[in-house]
């Protein structure tokens, strides 16, 4: 009984435990602090590394892309410059040039009569761009119907060749061409000199393009 009483009455003596508990707490705080601080800085450095690595990868990608673009530019830009010179992107000027050149050719080839008819311009879809969600250039087609009175077929040939020469880049196309004899078989041309013998109706398609507003990719 005495023993039990003594045991119950004995309070915990903190004196001998103060120092180890204090050291323990300081140790824990110190340990946690250095772990947390070092971990914090490690994460920071790791984040910096990851960021720079990601930036470098991105730059590498952009660099590869720009190198590819440069290769494209080297081959394509001179052609583009030429197209610009030929007013490929300026529909109005191009149509004026067409009229002017047709007139010149008529005079040069001595075509008795040449009538033209410009149809409305239409947006065209090129099948090579079908798979692309959007392309940065729009192509247009315009039709010119030419009704030509000629003495012989060679005049028509001269006219077509003349058109090709005018337009350095072959950006027009002949869609169809009908040539009709104007007189019966027994018609004697020598009795009616200067009269056209043939009438040709040809439909030409000529192309132009319009650049979509440039996105700032730089």
């Amino acid at each position: 009984m005495k023993h039990k009483e003594s045991l119950k009455k004995t309070p915990i003596e903190w004196q001998p435990l103060k120092m180890p508990i204090a050291l323990f707490l300081i140790g824990i705080i110190f340990a946690m602090s250095i772990i947390l601080v070092s971990d914090h800085y490690y994460k920071k450095i790791q984040n910096d590394f990851t960021r720079i690595e990601s930036n470098l990868k991105s730059l590498q990608k952009r660099n590869d892309e720009i190198q590819k673009n440069l290769a494209i530019v080297k081959t394509a830009y001179p052609k583009y410059e030429n197209l610009k010179t030929l007013h490929f992107f300026d529909n109005e000027t191009a149509s004026l040039n067409w009229v002017s050149w047709l007139k010149t050719l008529q005079e040069n080839i001595k075509i008795p009569e040449l009538n033209y008819e410009f149809n409305v311009q239409q947006l065209m879809t090129l099948s090579i761009f079908n798979s692309k969600k959007s392309n940065s250039v729009e192509f247009f087609t315009s039709e010119i119907k030419l009704t030509i009175q000629i003495v012989h077929l060679g005049d028509l040939f001269d006219l077509i060749q003349g058109l090709s020469k005018f337009y350095q880049l072959p950006l027009f196309n002949i869609k169809n061409c009908d040539i009709k004899r104007k007189h019966p078989a027994d018609f004697i041309w020598q009795q009616h000199p200067g009269q056209p013998l043939l009438e040709a109706v040809c439909t030409l398609q000529w192309y132009s393009a319009k650049l979509k507003p440039q996105e700032n990719t730089k």
């Binding site: 023993h3 003594s6 045991l7 004995t10 003596e13 001998p16 435990l17 180890p20 508990i21 050291l23 323990f24 140790g27 824990i28 340990a31 946690m32 250095i34 772990i35 070092s38 971990d39 490690y42 450095i45 790791q46 910096d48 590394f49 720079i52 470098l56 730059l59 952009r62 660099n63 720009i66 673009n69 440069l70 494209i72 530019v73 394509a76 052609k79 583009y80 090129l126 090579i128 079908n130 940065s136 192509f139 077929l153 040939f157 077509i160 060749q161 090709s164 880049l169 950006l171 027009f172 196309n173 002949i174 061409c177 009908d178 009709k180 004899r181 192309y207 393009a209 650049l211 440039q214």
Partner: protein
Amino acid sequence: MKAQPIIYFSDNQWIIYQLIEKAVLEVRRFSNDEKGRISFKQWLPESPLKSWYQPISIVVDSRQEEYHWEKVPHVSIRDRQELLQLRQRKWFSNTPYSFAHIQGKSQQLETARLEDQALCIGLLQPDPLQSFVQILLEHKIVIQGIYSLPLLAENLLKSLPTAKYTLLVMHTEPLNDSQPFGLRQVFFVDNKLVLSRWIGVSHTSTSMFSAFLIEEINKTRQYLLGINALFHEYYLNAFIFTEYQYIDEINEFAKQKSFVNITLKLYNAAHWTFQEGLHKSSSPAHLYCLILQRLKQSSPTNHYARSFERRYFKYFKLRQILYFITATFVSISTLFTGHIIWQMYKTSLQTTDLNMQFTQMEVAYRETKALQPEDIDVLALKDTIDGVDWLSKRQRFPLQSFNFISNYLIDFPQLFLEKISWSYKEEISQPIGGENPTSKIQQLLQAKRKEAGLNESKFLELIVLEGKISPFDGNPGKALETVRNFEQHLKKDKRIKEIKELVLPLNLSTINITKGNLTHSNTPAKEAPFSLEITLNM
């Protein structure tokens, strides 16, 4: 090596020992009375005991210690503690210092009932020890345990020859001037303590020590027989540890006298303890010193110390655990931090390297970018050129076809053309798997076809010739032959893909009815028209 303190506590005195390597050295001795307690109290604050600040073991060597060696029913481990406590309360209800433990298991042959051999020991007069412990606690001395010296003596048996019944006889510390030493007889069965006797030896007894010793051993034997701890038919193996000067005397005496079932084995205590690894001990209690040394080596279960008396030991252990945990935490965290710092260093080096690469690449990038045109986006540029190329490939002129036909018509002047129409059509080859091939095989095949140029569109030019036979002699058969000849002539050319006869000189038609007059069959036809659609593969 750090000195380890041990207190020897007997009815007459207490002795402070310190264990240093292979020596048990006496530090101070106090008489077990009021005078001794006062001087101990005065000595203690300045004593090395406090400065050592390490656990102290108290070994009790008392004549007041009582032994109850008995069989108890074999019970489960859970109930065993309660059973032992009951035994302690039965035998030692008036003392706080008692101890009971199970020594082993035995079986009664008659009943086949399992029984355990238990030993219950206690101090009948606890007050001197209690007051001594109180002094230690007042000074916050860490008490690891209070041990019974006879029970600790079990540790010595492993160094002695094995025997069923063993009696260990050894000298105690000197008691006073009239008693230079005492004799401690400890009896074991199967190397387990049964009881112990303490006998004082006077100067008179020392003169006839051999006779006195043998008589006391005989007395012990008789007592053991009396309590059925030993049986007549068994030998009692007495191991006597004594001083060098008594050995010859005892041997002489033993030769003269015959013993009944007692085997005597004599040992020079000082020599034997030296052999056992205790190189320095105080005479004559060499074996006591060996027991103290082995106590520190083995750290046995506490026998007598109560929980509150061992509280400083608990604090001591707790302090040790706290220090250990703290040291472990700090060490691990330091190692971890060191590792992290090393990783940080390596990462920093890599970052610097990447930074340099980035700077170099950025310069190259800017230089390349400066070469890009400003007026057009590269994508638009590519699309424009691709589009123009695509259109260029589709460019068609009639000149070649007209020349082709003209060359053939020269050989057929009868064919008078009234109209010639030219157009073209694009024949697109059907890709494998449609426009969007799904399977990999289809994609592969399509790629192969594209490589071989099989996917390219083909342009077919169409020429429609309308005319008539001129001059016409009225013979439609001949006219037809002329047209067919022309067709055959054309078909020889590989560029001709197909010729369709739209209108022939007989003018048979799927729409119009063809009529004739057989009566006037000689009437000639007026005209022989024809119309052919020629498909050219130019």
